[in-house]
Amino acid sequence: MSIIETRDLSFVYGIDTPFEKRAVNNVNIKIEQGEFIGIMGHTGSGKSTFVQMLNGLIKPTSGQVLLNGKDIWENPKEIRKVRFQVGMVFQYPEYQLFEETVYKDISFGPKNMGLTDSEIDKRVRDAARFVDLSGELLFKSPFDLSGGEKRRAAIAGVLAMDPDVLILDEPTAGLDPMGRDILLSQICQYHKQRKNTVLLVSHSMEDIARVSDKIMVMNKSNLEMFDKTKNVFSQNKHLEEIGLRVPQITKIMASLNEKGYDFSEGILTVEQAFAEILTKLNKEGKLW
């Protein structure tokens, strides 16, 4: 059974007003336990709206979201439980910090779950360790942290709930390249250890290519593609038509192939390309 399944999921903003906008249109998708899914699409394509429906923050205009085979809106009173199972990190999550100390802020989620104090303490420290917030930072005011540290504190606030499904909406937006790489690898690390399901919304093809097993592409409120990362990124033309592109390195390798080389298809990261070229040169004996 898929951990998350959507059936004809649609959402319309401002229904019955002149500003009516169909943000998500009939999306059918199945996500399996343990998968790392990248979500991409041009701005305004409905990615954020889609993911907010997955943990019941907004109620679908029509269609269903099934979590472990059960409609999450079956019993609206139980919707909070769904939110503990499906954790959501918003775009610019640092604006949700409010407590006196980082420690207290991270413990907000676990506290709402009604855990015991010792369990809360354990979870807060685990979550803080994942995002690399060291001991003394935990007892500072969240408003005294740097932008990147705030971001990590906010993400820890969701990790501390230890959700089965973790959704991150552009977690690396506005960070420096170094900070982006670090955050991304922390998320990967977390995914590997906990073996949970992760959905990552991102505008960076490089990031998505590096980490995800499958990619979901949204275009003008519709689901355009949902396939293995390699398969999606082999459709260069199609992606460019809908305002996206493949990672630069994939493009370079593809054009090298056009020029007559025969590197393997679907190279997604610089490391892969490096290894590939190295083997090729080695084989041809041109390396040393």
Binding site: L57, R83, G87, F90, Y95, F98, F108, N112, F143, G157
Partner: protein, 270 residues
């Protein structure tokens, strides 16, 4: 959602009323409100209601939007009309203890209801058809004479513009923060009143913090563009009165005269 508030929302369009000068609209609204409260009998009230309907139709805004803005104040309408129902004098039609309903009570209740509805519809017509910038611009022009009393008209208008400009932004922000805290299991929809107020803290603190940040940023941005108050400042879009505006003002004068005439002529119909 918090955002579904229609009261005071601008809906762009190209109707007769959209094209009118904002100053004319404000002046007309004020005289219309005076007129509503000058209508003392059913004939003049009917005239006022008819004018209101004309305004609503010629604004070209979907009726649904007006109904939505009425929905917001339906509570006040019901309370005031029920109160008025019991305040009449004369022979009781129905009595229960000290509560009694009389013909004059019923007519008062109807009066009050129609008055409030006309008031809301006319005011909505103004805000639906006038952009906030035009509105405050017009207010600034209309209040200019107050400068004689050393009232900082421009500054007040600028503050109003900024406040109006940021209402949707703040609503949107509130929505976002609420969503984020709900995602962490915040429970805002249940519990007693103290629990509910406590549940607002995680929303209010980030909202304050970001409002201050926004205020700093806006002040900085304005200073960077050499804003220094109203002195010597010119307008990009100068308001100007056209034939429609003068015709409308003339019509309004006629209707107002009509209402006063009805009041005098049908005085016995109260």
């Amino acid at each position: 959602m918090v955002r579904d508030v229609t009261l005071g929302q601008y809906l762009p369009g190209n109707s007769l009323i959209h094209r009118m000068d904002a100053r004319a609209k404000i002046v007309l609204l004020i005289s219309f409100i005076v007129m509503i409260f000058c209508a003392f009998n059913f004939v003049s009230l009917a005239l006022t209601a008819a004018v209101t309907i004309l305004i609503v139709i010629s604004s070209g805004i979907p009726l649904k939007m007006y109904l939505k803005s009425l929905k917001v104040i339906i509570f006040i309408v019901v309370i005031t009309s029920v109160l008025n129902l019991f305040y009449g004098t004369g022979d009781p039609l129905w009595q229960w203890g000290f509560l009694k309903i009389t013909w004059s009570g019923i007519s008062r209740a109807i009066f009050v209801t129609i008055r409030i509805i006309c008031l809301i519809l006319a005011t909505s017509a103004l805000t639906f058809t006038t952009s906030p910038t035009n509105l405050t611009d017009a207010l600034e022009r209309l209040m200019k004479p107050l400068k004689v009393f050393h009232i900082k008209v421009h500054e007040i208008a600028m503050m109003m513009t900024i406040a109006l400009r940021f209402i949707p932004t703040l609503l949107e922000e509130t929505d976002k923060i609420m969503q984020a805290q709900k995602a962490r299991g915040a429970d805002m929809d249940s519990g007693n009143i103290i629990q509910r107020i406590k549940a607002l803290i995680p929303v209010l603190i980030p909202l304050f913090v970001s409002s201050f940040r926004r205020a700093y940023e806006l002040a900085m941005a304005m200073e960077c563009r050499c804003y220094q108050g109203g002195e010597g400042r010119t307008k990009m879009k100068v308001l100007h009165m056209s034939a429609i505006d003068y015709i409308m003002i003339a019509l309004m004068a006629v209707v107002l005269a009509g209402v006063i005439f009805c009041n005098i002529f049908f005085w016995e119909l109260v």
